[in-house]
Amino acid sequence: VKTLRAVWLGVALACAGRAVAAQNPHRNRFWLELGGGPGAIRIGCGGCPGVTTSSGSTGYFRLGGSLSEKVLLGVETFGFTDETFQFTDQDPAFVAENETLVAVVLWYPWRGGVFLKGGVGLAGGRFTVATDSGATAVAQGVGVGLTLGVGFDYPISRRLALTANAATFITGIGDLRIGPALVDDVIPELYQLSIGLALR
């Protein structure tokens, strides 16, 4: 019986969503969105023979306004964290944190809720490791970030929508000094799958 209720609830929500979507498919005027999900990171650097990859968790917040019925302009902040990051298997576990603060454009090319995202702005990366003495050593860099992605707004009420996002964040954060070693021209590239809630 519970399963049946859940199915009916799902169907009702879907129908309501479709009805709302038909009336008001996109966001208009002021909007904001908050969400999170799993992520992955791939780090390359100047002169490095390969890349380091890892997974972690991500979160984002963005808000903005509408330039037209199909184009939204906003600001987005995004963060990635992995507390078990290692450049090599011999390394101690780092806390790897990456953030971006970018101006974003969301473009709804069609009538439905599918949108494309593009943005550019600041990026930062921070790697924290506990030293033998118990203190922490931090290596960090700041630079430029660019994000590209695709998403889908699923309206659940007149003012709310569930949003699914797939995005990549390509960041260049410069040189990092990790202990005695200087790692040149670090490029962390992040991938995110997320679910968010949008007030629109």
């Binding site: 390969g50 473009w107 090319p109 593009g118 630079g143 430029v144 660019l146 260049g172 954060i173 021209d185």
Partner: protein, 454 residues
Amino acid sequence: VKQRVKLTTLTLVLGLAARVAGQTDERPRPLRAVGTVLVTNVVINQFDAWVLGQPWARTDVGSWSRNLRLGWEWDEDEFITNMFAHPFHGAAYFNAGRANGLSYWESAPLAFLGSWTWEYFGERFRPSLNDFFNTSFGGMAMGEMFHRVATTIRDSETGGFDRTAREITATLLDPIGGLNRLVRGEWRRRRPNPVEHDSSAYVFRFHAGSRFAGEAGALERTAASPTVLMDMTSGAPFDRPFETAYDFFSLRMQVSPSGGINMVHGLGRLYGRDLRRPGARTRHLFAVNQRYDYVNNAAYKFSAQGIETAIWSRWRLGSGAFSLRSGVAADVIVMGAIDAPSAGTATRPYDFGPGFGLMLDLGLTHRGVTYLSWYSRAEYLHSVSGASADHYVGFAGLELTVPVARRWGIGAYVSSYDRTSQYSDQPDERRVFPEFRLFVTWTSTYRPGAVLSR
């Protein structure tokens, strides 16, 4: 056999593209635009591989797989390749959209798509992050200017030799637009011109003379060279309200026999708003502009792509024939490049990085044409590839043009470029490069709102 298969595939792709492009109507065709971008990449790649015999263009599944696995890096190409040729290349992607009925904003993703696919699949090298930025953002700026100038050169309401000559000239600037039109039979078909076709919107001023560039901080140690400089503006921001992206744009380009194109400053208005009523004697406009800067001469190299917010003002003086204009702007550099003695990495003698800055300019105009102008600009660039450094640069210049006949004038220009580089592991370093020009000018027309000089 492999070559034959490639040739057959290319012929089929080109044939299909020609058929698709041959469909004519005025509606936006995003899929056709995407197809044009991908075909452009295939054609350029195959031209590089077969005709020019470039080993880096001989891509295969192995190189694609490696590039997808390893991802982005910074490359070590020459300054002109990264900061000028790549934006030029990006203009082709962008104009695949403009040629297929898409707007400036709708065409922007195509510049990114074209660049991304080229970086991963068009070269054996690992994808280059600086190329991705420069091709995409620079392609939007150059592409829109080329599109608008080419659209004005073309005249779909004429015929004969004049029509063909115009189409060929426009195709040199906007090859993708020209080829699309050729395939669709629009080089001959008579039809009304689009709204961007507006020759009255353009003002040109050509400067020809001699340039004296200081080599190490003093004008006594100068190198002189002949130089030609062109100012071009399209649109009149104080006379017409903002309508669409690049309804006003300006371009300053300098060519010297020894160094080719050694300076390009482009600016296109993306958004504008009147801060006072249009009929007021004193006007203030708020503008958001896209900028493209490229300076590559023997003394120094600097390039930046970014966005600025600006307040442009105009004060009428006396009876109104003379005006004082000013501009105050704050800009964000999305991707910049700068050379310095300790900059760069491996074979590349310059750094990449984002930054920000401020600009101020003043000008005295008579009936819309600028005769005296002064500007000052300060920029900060944080290196993210190359030396571990922060660069501070200052530009300042004063330009005077004295009219001697209706369209002719003589002028002088003095400027300086002041760079201070702070390295994390070396002493700070500072250089000043002065420059002086003497020139004759020819201005194409006189009308309100005309030549800005930056």
